[in-house]
Symmetry: C2
Subunit: 214 residues, 2 copies
Amino acid sequence: MTAILLVDDHPIVREGYRRLLERQPDYRIVAEAANAAEAYQAYRKVSPDIVIMDLSLPGASGVEAVRHIKQWDKGARILIFTMHSGAAFALKAFEAGASGYVTKSSDAAELLRAVAIVAKGGRALSDDVAREIAAERLGEGRALVDELGPRETEILRLVASGRTTEDIAGILNLSPKTVQNYHYQIKSKIGARTDAHLVWLAIGAGLVGDASAT
Amino acid sequence: MTAILLVDDHPIVREGYRRLLERQPDYRIVAEAANAAEAYQAYRKVSPDIVIMDLSLPGASGVEAVRHIKQWDKGARILIFTMHSGAAFALKAFEAGASGYVTKSSDAAELLRAVAIVAKGGRALSDDVAREIAAERLGEGRALVDELGPRETEILRLVASGRTTEDIAGILNLSPKTVQNYHYQIKSKIGARTDAHLVWLAIGAGLVGDASAT
DNA sequence: GCCCTGATCGGGCAAATTGCCTGGGGGCGA
DNA sequence: TCGCCCCCAGGCAATTTGCCCGATCAGGGC
């Protein structure tokens, strides 16, 4: 039996959850809350197995509520169920300690699947949000790269992937000085103030983004 | 009418594509290839509107083939259709210039949808891969961060997000020299050879990677 | 052929940063 | 009270950055 705490400022929506969840044999809603403060109180009182929470709450935001609860109980499992499909919301929620993120446009089956995953300690993410995050990660803006010549692009790729100046000089059979010059030229063309900034721009342009195979 | 070039080393699989795609009124398979070299030749000969390609080909990898074709025609639209669902494969493919990535576990409808998107110049990604990339993006590995003190973590976050040394000094009310020292210390503790490398490690640790709310 | 443009390659030099060491102060557990 | 670790920052040589310059080579256009 899985004890659930429901947090949503809309009683009607809570009623909807209740209908859906209590039809499942293993789930029981043991408490409800309409805002962050209530959620926190309720959590401390009933220690539910999982929390299902909306992100837009009156007063403190849902992200704050997540952070607060996780601070009190590091093992808390919180599933965000919200209308926002933006990648930024989801990332913030996970950063705060949420275990799952499902949008309200998902169907009942998807919510139940997410609840099951989170209850087992896993991480759940609905398809539309996954797609958003992936899209952001893949980046849209080429633009930048078009300003650069092929050699510059090549060197940007290498620099952004973490290579040393000397590495690059070796790989491309150039003088280290030339690589430095390109490096500098790229930064000024692109308008990056920092190497780190350069990396982000390169990611945005789709030039890099690997994480495997160094 | 959309002209398609099919690249897959398995004739039976190509037959499958053909069945599926030629049932659609707008698609016509104008050429086939069984390896990277053939694909390249065929592309130059028929200039198809889109290429549907497997990633695992005999000889040169599909990624190489993509890079090669894009080098010859920057406007080429290439849709990868493969069995690999790993994020790394997909990222490499996009980096090389692919416009879409669909796994063979997707159903026919998803492939057709992807073909349509790519034909229109968009970018397509199947759900399972999106999920993989998102998972990777959310990051698993803390590890690194545990080595660092809170101050170091803070500074790493700022450095990795692209701030200038002076910016950081201003934000945290420190001497620029102190920031430089932390910056150096972090690099040696974490084992990063380059600032760019540092950014990747910070991303992996989930410290940065927002893109919103600066 | 000739000029112009643009990409590629690198030297030079001052100013800034990195790499590494040093040292002092504060908190906290043994 | 003694370490130990974290915080903060100066010093100094070595390297890199920032910005200048000139040389070569390929492709147009006239």
